[in-house]
Symmetry: C2
Subunit: 216 residues, 2 copies
């Protein structure tokens, strides 16, 4: 299985491409914004493709052709300006969804925010709300497609070493999770067809990633 | 017919409530953000309701109950920050659409931007693109409902006196239009059932508003 990792040069993305390249049956195609980001991925033996999420759907679809799955882990992040939130977290995400459809790639894994419900929008602090709105509409767009999607809602991200131990369910108590473990959860979701059509929150916990995913 | 005017205190909104109150068969309910904005509308004999577009759908639905149509002419405008673009032009619009459904109000007239197509997003200047994205997704959301909608795409707005003469069609050449004439076009659309399910661009031209609307 070949996986296009959108946002490969992000912190989760780099962990993910590393895990994918170490795995037996999966290989990564790293979608990056600048050619100078390529060396990290080339050293891992991963293919790279240079595309900007502000490019059009046709360009993104061309990068998507020939893979078996797309993972969206790009993010302007909640701390960039809301202009990039609109262009990347919402419109960039939707363009990769449309590009997947155009390229005939049915499997799509979205890295969302912990809670993108209407209630979460209403209760979000003012500075964070536009990010929640953007992620909300991207998730809605994906649910509305016929793609074999999985939507992962990780808790508050940190850069601690991963433990490989998580808790995952439709809703879990708010908590943190190392980015490294989010990357493990993504790979496990790609490798487990039972995650298709599901979405779940995930935080640090006491189950192995595989067990947590299987018991969803 | 009673019409909830969302964004009544905006420049188009004030013209619209004025025209509505002068008309025979229509009356306005002005949705405003602050009580101190009410006097303008009370002098016109229009009902007012104080609701913020960042309130929740239930609150907006309550303001929507009992009217026959909703007009969305609120706008953070392209010159406010992109955070408000997300919260008002996208999420605020969607919440009024959902509120209309919840309140059982089937008629909905959206004042969109001149061109909200995918192509317009791709070709927009960087500072304007988030606004086009927000209006794009609000329009998509509306088209996807069963509401009796009309989507109006006015050209570049100016504050000249209206002439009552416009050009309207699915696509017209880019041009300007006085806000006063946009308000006339909205009222004419509300009064002409043949505009249901249609969307059109409109700029200054040489047809009467009624003729232009009828020949769509």
């Amino acid at each position: 299985m070949k996986v296009l990792v959108v946002g490969a040069n992000g912190q989760i993305g780099k962990h993910l491409v590393t895990f994918i390249q170490e795995s037996e049956n999966v290989e990564a195609k790293a979608m990056i914004r600048k050619e100078e980001q390529a060396s990290f991925f080339k050293e891992l033996g991963a293919e790279t493709v240079v595309v900007d999420l502000e490019d059009d759907i046709e360009t993104i679809a061309k990068a998507t052709e020939g893979v078996d799955a797309v993972v969206f882990t790009a993010g302007s992040g909640p701390h960039t300006g809301p202009d990039k939130t609109v262009m990347i977290d919402l419109d960039g995400a939707v363009k990769t969804i449309e590009a997947s459809k155009a390229a005939g790639v049915n499997r799509y894994v979205m890295i969302s925010s912990f809670d993108t419900t209407r209630e979460a929008i209403q209760s979000a602090p003012e500075s964070f709300a536009p990010y929640v709105v953007a992620k909300h509409y991207a998730d809605v767009w994906l649910r509305d497609t016929d793609l074999d999607y999985t939507i992962i809602h990780p808790g508050r991200l940190n850069n601690e070493d991963g433990t490989g131990q998580v808790e995952a369910a439709s809703t879990v108590e708010r908590g943190e999770i190392p980015r490294e473990d989010v990357a493990r959860v993504i790979l496990a979701s790609l490798e487990d067809q039972t995650t298709i059509g599901k979405e779940f929150q995930v935080v640090a916990g006491d189950k192995s990633v595989q067990d947590a995913i299987q018991s969803l």
